[in-house]
Amino acid sequence: MIEFKNVSKWYGDFQVLSDCTTRVDKGEVVVVCGPSGSGKSTLIKCANGLEPFQKGELLFNGVSVGDPQTDLPRLRSQIGMVFQHFELFPHLSVMQNLTLGQIKVLERSQEEADQKAMALLDRVGLRSQAEKFPGQLSGGQQQRVAIARALCMDPVAMLFDEPTSALDPEMVNEVLDVMVALAKEGMTMMVVTHEMGFARKVSDRVIFMDAGKIVEDCSKDEFFGAPRSPRAQEFLSKILSH
C-alpha cells in the first residue's frame, strides 16, 4: 500500500534520509523506531507528502506521492495522520475539529458529518466533550480527539508520528488502547514510536532507523529476538533496560 523506493532527502547539504526502501502492506502495522534525529518522523511525513523528498520514488496505492501532477489534497484525505503535538485546531470546538474535513474535503452534509463525528467520539470515549475546545482537554484526550479526527475521513491507512511522546506518562495508555483497537481491526498503520510494548503487542514489522538509513527492517519476532545490527541491539538495550 505504501512503497518507499530509494527515498533520499536533504536539508541543504545535510542528508536526512538516504536510500530508504521499505513497504507497508494492506492491513499491516509497521513500527518505526530509532534514536532521535534518525529521520523517522521525516520518513513518515514523506508518505503523505507533508515533507518533499529529492530522490527516489514513493507510491501510495500505486499513486506517486512525489509527482508534481499528483492531487496531494485528495491523496492526503485518504491517509489519516496523528501528530506528536496533536495539532487540533484550537479555535474550533472538538465537534468542529471533527467535521471540518468531512464537510470541506469530502463534501458531506452537516448532519452526516455530525453523526460520523459523534460515532467516533463515542469510540474514543469522549462523547461528552464534543462541545468543548481543545484547550479544555487533557493531553491524552486531545490526542484521542486527533485520532478521531483522522478516522472521520474514513482513511485507508493511518500514520502516527510519535503519538504518545508529548503526553504525561499516565495518559499514554488511553491513547495506546485506541491504537491497539484500531490495529486489531485491521487498519493499515505506520507508527513512529518508542513504545516497545505497543510494538510487541500489535506490530507485524519493525523498522529501525539510524542517521537517515533504514538499518533494520524485519518481523517483530526477529527484531525483539535478535536484531542483527549492533546499533539496534544497543538501542534496544537502552530502551528496554528499565
Binding site: 511525513k45 503523505n48 507533508l50 496531494l72 489534497p73 485528495r74 492526503r76 484525505s77 485518504q78 491517509i79 489519516g80 495522520m81 501528530f83 503535538h85 495539532e87 487540533l88 485546531f89 484550537p90 479555535h91 471540518l100 474535513g101 470541506k104 474535503v105 469530502l106 475546545f133 484547550g135 479544555q136 479526527r149 483522522a150 475521513m153
Partner: protein
C-alpha cells in the same frame, strides 16, 4: 492680556461638526480599515509565499509605503488617482474623483502596508504543525489558510489591528491637505470663521482624546476576553 473664552461657538456648530465632520472621519476610518485589512492580509500571504515575484512585489510595496510620509501620499494620490482612473477606463480625460474617494483609496493602500506587517506576524505566530494538520486532512492551501491559519492569526492580532486603527483614526485628520471636511477640518473652518481658534482646537483635541482613549481601553479589555485557550 486675558483671552476672552467663548465656548458658545461649540454649541452653535456642533451639528455641523459631528454630522458633516465626524461622519466623514468615522466612515473613512472604518472603510479604510476594512480595505486595509483585506489588502494587508493578501500582501502578508504574498510576503510569506515562496513565489519569488509575489514575494518581491509585496516586499517592495510595503517598504515603499512605510518609507513615505503620509501627507505626501495623500497629496500624491489626490493628483494621481484621477489620471490612473482615466487610464484604466480608457478615456483621455482624467477621471473625476472626489476628495472622499481619493482619501479612501490612499488610506486603504497606505494602511495595508502596516496591516500587512501585523498579519504577517500573526500568521507566523501560528505553529507550522497547524498547517500540516490542515493539509493532512486533505485541505488545500486556500482552505488551510481561510479555515485554520487566518482565523487564528486574526484573533491573535485583533488587539494590534485595532490599535493600528486608532492610529488610522487620528491620521485621517491629515486629509485637511486636500481640503476635505473631516472632523478636524470642520472644526478648523468654524474656528477661522468665528475667530475662536483656541476654543475649537481645544474642543477637537478633547473629542479625539475621548474617542481614542475609550477605544484603547476597550481594546485592552477585549484582549483578555478573546485569547484562544491553548
Amino acid at each position: 492680556m486675558g483671552y476672552d473664552f467663548d465656548f458658545d461657538v461649540i454649541q452653535r456648530s456642533w451639528v455641523y461638526l459631528f454630522r458633516d465632520g465626524m461622519t466623514f472621519t468615522v466612515t473613512l476610518t472604518l472603510l479604510s480599515m476594512l480595505g486595509g485589512v483585506v489588502l494587508g492580509t493578501a500582501l502578508a500571504l504574498m510576503r510569506l509565499s515562496s513565489h519569488r515575484v509575489l514575494n518581491g512585489f509585496a516586499g517592495a510595496y510595503v517598504n515603499l509605503m512605510r518609507s513615505l510620509p503620509l501627507v505626501l501620499v495623500i497629496f500624491w494620490f489626490y493628483f494621481l488617482v484621477p489620471y490612473i482612473g482615466g487610464w484604466l477606463s480608457g478615456s483621455n480625460q482624467p477621471m473625476k474623483v472626489g476628495a472622499f474617494a481619493s482619501a479612501l483609496i490612499t488610506f486603504t493602500m497606505f494602511e495595508a502596508a502596516f496591516y500587512c506587517e501585523i498579519m504577517r506576524a500573526g500568521i507566523q505566530s501560528i505553529p507550522k504543525g497547524q498547517v500540516s494538520a490542515g493539509y493532512a486532512i486533505g485541505l488545500k492551501y486556500r482552505q488551510t489558510m481561510s479555515y485554520i491559519v487566518l482565523p487564528q492569526a486574526f484573533r491573535n492580532m485583533l488587539p494590534v489591528l485595532l490599535t493600528q486603527t486608532i492610529i488610522l483614526f487620528q491620521d485621517t485628520s491629515l486629509v485637511y491637505v486636500i481640503s476635505s471636511t473631516n472632523f478636524l477640518g470642520a472644526a478648523a473652518k468654524v474656528a477661522n470663521r468665528d475667530h475662536r481658534l483656541v476654543e475649537m482646537y481645544t474642543f477637537a483635541a478633547l473629542i479625539y482624546f475621548i474617542i481614542c482613549f475609550a477605544a484603547s481601553m476597550y481594546v485592552r479589555r477585549l484582549q483578555a476576553r478573546i485569547s484562544i485557550i491553548r
